[in-house]
Symmetry: C2
Subunit: 481 residues, 2 copies
C-alpha cells in the first residue's frame, strides 16, 4: 500500500469516525428502542417452555442484522438456534463478534420491582439511569453495543471499517450443549483473525478493561456411601462408619495449613503469569481490603504466599460449592446416613489440564478412603483456562481506541471465572479473543432487578465504533502504545 | 410374717400363676382384638391434625384400665394427655408401668402394603405371624402385654399380685414436651419402688433381655457463616473463606486417628462399666461381624481400643446426623455459600454431664474457628445416660421369672440409644427402671410395615404375668440366681 494513499484513507476514516460517533449519540433513542424490543422477548434458555421465545429472539437479531446489510441467517441446532451473520470486505482484518441472546430464569419473581421482561428506564438520585430487565446487561445490552456500533458506521459511511462476522448463541446460560456440534459444522465460516466479545466488565465506572485471562473450571460431584441404609445413631453410633464424617475428612484434606490446595501435583503444570502480565496487574493497585470488606470478610483464605488478586485470577482453587447428607430439616433425626454428597469445583489456570486434575483429585480421594466406604464421582463439566496474548496488535489497537473514548488508560485484567467460548475458540479454531465489556459489578447478573447502566450502553456503542476504526488498519492511525 | 403362712401364700400364688397363664393363653383372641382396637386409632403425636385421635387413644386406654379395676383417668396437659391408673393393695412392692400410646407418622405411605391403621395378621412362610400396623410394636403392642397380663391376673384371682400404677404418655414420639410439667404435678402420685417399661428388645428370638444401660444424648446444631452473602466461586474462589470447608475441617477435628472423639476432656468423666457388667456383656458372645455385615459394613469405625459392642453401649460417641450448605440439586452452581450447617449429636455414657460436654464441644469449635467466621450453636436437646443397678432384688426376681417363661437365662444388655424417661425418673423421682421388652430388631419401628410378632405379644403377656408374681414377695418363691 502506497504511504500517501494510506495516509489519505486514514485521514478520511478519522473524519468519518467523528461523524459516526455523532450519529450514535444522536440516535441513542433508536438504539434504546431496539434494546427494549429484544429485552421484551423472554428467551430463557433453560426452560423448554420458552423455546419458542428463543427462536423469536434469534429471528429478531437476524432481521436487525439484515437491516444493516449483513448476510444473516438463523441456524437450527439440536437446542436453541445460532444466529450467524457476515459483512465482509476485501483486505484488512476480519473480526468475529460473539454474544448470546438467551437469559437466565427470573426466579425469585417476587423480588423484581417490575416485570423482568417489561424493561424500565430508572433515573437514580445519583443522576445515572438504569435499564432494568432480565438480560439488560447479560448479554442483550452488551451484545447490542456492538450491533449498534456497526449500524452507526453503516448509516454514516455505507460500510464497515473492516470485515465483521457475528454469531449469537442461545444456550450460554444453560450449558451451550449445541455449541460443539455447531462449531464442527460452521468451522470454516467462523474463521477470523480475532474474536470480539462483550460479556465482561469495566474495571470501575470510569476505567475500561480488556480481560486477558479466564480461569478454567472442573466440576465434580462426589458421593460417599458407607452402610447399606440409614442407621439409628444410638444403635450404631461409633461402630458404623459415618459418610458425613468421611466426606468432611476428605474435604479437610483438600486444603493445607496455608490455604494451598493439598492434592499431590495440583500445581505441577501451573504456568506463572509473565512479567508483563504481572506488571499490568500491579498497575491496578487492587484494593484487597475493600474487595473483601464488601462481602463481609477481612482476610483472604487461599494460599497466603499470594495476594488476594493473585488468588482469584492467577492461582487455581478448590471450592466446595455444596454439601448434603443425612437430615437437615428442623430439629434433629438421630441417624447415621448411608450417603453424603458434595459438589466440588476447581478453578484452573494456564497450563493445567482438567483431565489430569480430575485424575489427581480422584487419586487423592481414593487413597484416603477408609474401610467400608465407596466413592462415586460424577463429572459435571470441564474447561481449560484461557490466556489472551497481551502483545497482539489487535489488543494494542483496541486499547488505544478505548483510551480515546474513556480519556484514561484502559487496564488489562483477569477474571476468576470462566467464559468457556474463549477457550473453545482458542483450542478448536485457533482464534484468540478480545473480551471488552461495559458491565459494572453491580449489574445483578442472574439476580432480580438485573440492570445495565445507560452510560454503559452509550459508551459501549461509542467504544466499539472506535475499536472498529482502530482495528481497520491503524498502524499509522495512532501512535502505538 | 409367719413363715408357714408365707409358705402357704406362696404355694397358693404358684397355683394361681398356672391358672393365670392358662387364662392368658385361652384368651389371646380377646387380647388381640383389643390391640387391634388401639392400633386403629391413628394417634400420631407430631401432627396437630391427629390431636383428637391422641385424646381418643388416651380415653380408650383409660376405659380399658377401668374395666379391669384400675382407678384411671385421662390427665390433660399442654400437649397430648397422660393416662394415669392405680390398682393398689397394702404391703409388698409397688410398681409403676410406663408406656406411650402415640405413634410415629406413617410416611412414606406408598411403601406400606396396607393401611397402617388397619392392622393385619400376616402368617409368614416361616410359620410366624406378624401383626402389621403403625404402633404394632412401638409401643401399643408392647404396652398392652402388661395391661393384658394385669387383666389375666384380675380375671383369675380378682386382684393383682402387687400394687400397680401405670402412666401412658402421648408425646414420646414428638419430644415429650409436656412430661416435665406433668411430673412436677404428679410427682407424689407416681412414686413407686420400681418403674417397669416394655419399650425395648429381646436379645434374639429365643432369649429375653433386661436393658440395664442407655446412652444419653446431646443434640446440637452448628451453623458457620463467612461472607455476608453467597459469592461467585470464580470471582472469589481461594480468597473468600468457604464455610463448607470450615465446617468440614471442624468435623474432621472431632475424631482422632484411632476413631476416638478428639474433644479435649471428652472422656474425663466417663465411668467404666463395673466388672459385673462387663462379665454380663462377655456372656453375650456378641457377633460383631454379623452386626456390621447386616448393614453392609465390615469394620467398626470408633475407638479401636474397644470392641464394637463397647463402642455402641459403653463408650460415648459423636455423630454427624446431617449436613447442608450451598447448592446440592442437580448439576452444579458455582457459588461459595455464605453459610453451612450440621446437626451433631453426642451419645453419652454414665458419668458424663451433657452441659459439660456441650461446653467442651463449643470450646473445641471456637478454638479452631478461622478468621472471618462466626458460629451459631443451637441446642436441640440433652439427656444423661442411665445405668440400672444390676444387683437389685427386683431385677433378680424379674430375671428368674423370664427364665421360667423362656426356658433360658435372660441376658443383661445395653442400649446405644436413649429412653429419656428412664433417666428422668431416676434423677427426678429417684425411681430405677426395669426395661423388659419383647420387640425384635426387625420390627421396623418408625418405618413402613411396622410389625410385632404374635409370639412377642403372647410371650410378652405371659412374661409379665410371671414377673408380677415374682415381684410380689418372692424371696422364698424361687431360688435366687
Amino acid at each position: 500500500m502506497d504511504g500517501s494513499f494510506a495516509a489519505d484513507r486514514l485521514e478520511g476514516q478519522s473524519q468519518s469516525l467523528g461523524k459516526v460517533l455523532s450519529y450514535a449519540d444522536a440516535n441513542m433513542s433508536g438504539s434504546l428502542d431496539r434494546l427494549f424490543q429484544l429485552l421484551r422477548i423472554p428467551s430463557v434458555s433453560c426452560d423448554p417452555l420458552y423455546a419458542g421465545k428463543c427462536q423469536e429472539a434469534a429471528r429478531w437479531l437476524s432481521h436487525e442484522l439484515e437491516s444493516i446489510g449483513f448476510a444473516s441467517s438463523v441456524r437450527q441446532t439440536i437446542g436453541h438456534p445460532v444466529v450467524v451473520a457476515h459483512h465482509k470486505k476485501s483486505g484488512g482484518p476480519h473480526v468475529l463478534f460473539y454474544g448470546h441472546y438467551d437469559v437466565q430464569p427470573v426466579e425469585p419473581l417476587d423480588e423484581w420491582e417490575a416485570d423482568p421482561f417489561d424493561p424500565q428506564l430508572r433515573v437514580q438520585s445519583s443522576g445515572e439511569t438504569h435499564i432494568v430487565a432480565r438480560g439488560a446487561s447479560d448479554d442483550k445490552g452488551q451484545l447490542l453495543t456492538f450491533v449498534e456500533a456497526c449500524r452507526a458506521w453503516k448509516a454514516v459511511t455505507g460500510s464497515l471499517p473492516i470485515s465483521v462476522s457475528m454469531f449469537f448463541e442461545g444456550e450460554e446460560e444453560s450449558g451451550s450443549h449445541s455449541m460443539d456440534a455447531f462449531l464442527d459444522q460452521a468451522r470454516d465460516e467462523l474463521s477470523a483473525d480475532i474474536m470480539l466479545l462483550c460479556d465482561t466488565y469495566l474495571w470501575n465506572d470510569a476505567v475500561p478493561a480488556i480481560t486477558i485471562m479466564f480461569r478454567g473450571l472442573l466440576e465434580e460431584e462426589i458421593e460417599i456411601t458407607c452402610a447399606n441404609r440409614d442407621l439409628h445413631s444410638g444403635a450404631y453410633g461409633n461402630a458404623a462408619r459415618n459418610p458425613i464424617q468421611v466426606l468432611a475428612e476428605l474435604i479437610a484434606s483438600l486444603r493445607g495449613p496455608s490455604g494451598e490446595v493439598a492434592i499431590a501435583g495440583f500445581y505441577d503444570d501451573v504456568k506463572e503469569p509473565s512479567r508483563e502480565l504481572k506488571a499490568e496487574l500491579d498497575k491496578l493497585h487492587f484494593d484487597t481490603q475493600t474487595f473483601l470488606k464488601n462481602v463481609g470478610l477481612s482476610q483472604s483464605a487461599g494460599d497466603q504466599t499470594y495476594s488476594a488478586l493473585e488468588q482469584v485470577w492467577t492461582r487455581p482453587s478448590c471450592e466446595i460449592n455444596g454439601i448434603a447428607g443425612g437430615y437437615y430439616g428442623d430439629g434433629l433425626k438421630t441417624i447415621i446416613p448411608s450417603k453424603a454428597v458434595a459438589k466440588i469445583s476447581f478453578r484452573l489456570v494456564d497450563g493445567q489440564d482438567p483431565e489430569e486434575i480430575q485424575s489427581k483429585f480422584h487419586e487423592h480421594v481414593r487413597a484416603r478412603l477408609p474401610a467400608d466406604c465407596t466413592v462415586k464421582f460424577t463429572g459435571l463439566g470441564a474447561s481449560r483456562a484461557s490466556v489472551i496474548p497481551s502483545n497482539s496488535k489487535y489488543l494494542r489497537r483496541a486499547r488505544a481506541a478505548l483510551k480515546d473514548e474513556w480519556s484514561c488508560e484502559p487496564v488489562m485484567i483477569g477474571s476468576g471465572g470462566s467464559i468457556p467460548i474463549v477457550g473453545v475458540m482458542q483450542s478448536r479454531l485457533s482464534i484468540n479473543s478480545l473480551p471488552i465489556g461495559f458491565a459494572r459489578s453491580n449489574n445483578r447478573h442472574h439476580s432480580p432487578n438485573e440492570k445495565y447502566d445507560l452510560s454503559s450502553f452509550h459508551k459501549g456503542i461509542r467504544s466499539w465504533i472506535r475499536i472498529l476504526a482502530a482495528l481497520s488498519d491503524g498502524e499509522g492511525n495512532r501512535s502505538e502504545l
